[in-house]
Symmetry: C2
Amino acid sequence: MQQQISVITLGIDDLSRSRRFYTEGFGWTPVFENAEIVFYQMNGLMLGTWLKPGLTTDSGVVPSGTGGFALAHNVPAQADVEPAIEQLVKAGGAVVRKADAPEHGGFRGYVSDPDGHLWEIAWNPAWTIDAQGHVTFGV
Amino acid sequence: MQQQISVITLGIDDLSRSRRFYTEGFGWTPVFENAEIVFYQMNGLMLGTWLKPGLTTDSGVVPSGTGGFALAHNVPAQADVEPAIEQLVKAGGAVVRKADAPEHGGFRGYVSDPDGHLWEIAWNPAWTIDAQGHVTFGV
């Protein structure tokens, strides 16, 4: 199968609260929205924020806990990490880990979105991000 | 901030069990691996499968439950959905929802990976997937 992820769908409790986080915090523009889901066109894939009953009915899985996963948004420079985290917090996010330098290099902090989904905001000098936002592995 | 997700990191319990699911089930090739993480270069972003203690130490969040999220892999044709699910099950996945047609169109089923992370395998005729695997929203 093609080495491809088409969608990340996050279950949410409140559409407008979540929309505020993604549009005002990250500054992203929805490509589609209705009364139960908002889609954002991302870098080669879609991000969907879907009211939990919709995702539960569709998948048959009742959401619980944190799930043990994280999404990351990489920024161009180390100095961009903390302002990005501050902006996300202003839009309804919560700091989970203040930004610092991990052993494996770079600089990062963690924020949870209003539904508890984990976002790492990172500067990773080894990974290339092109103008279209496509991220390429590097060491 | 750029409309971009750099990484999806999934917390896992067993590296070789997870690796088998992604390499033999999806047929994907790692771009990097060591004793605690495997990275796959995806369509404009990275997928990382990281032993849970690493992700927990890095983020400060102890994984629990299902988390209320799903990843999706879209296939080119309706007839590709069921064989893909069968292949994932052979590689250690479990069927969560047998493939059928949702109200919003297309055809899809759900499989959980060996660590319980949810994958929707879908045919969505409205969304374009190019040769590089970049997925574009369409209605």
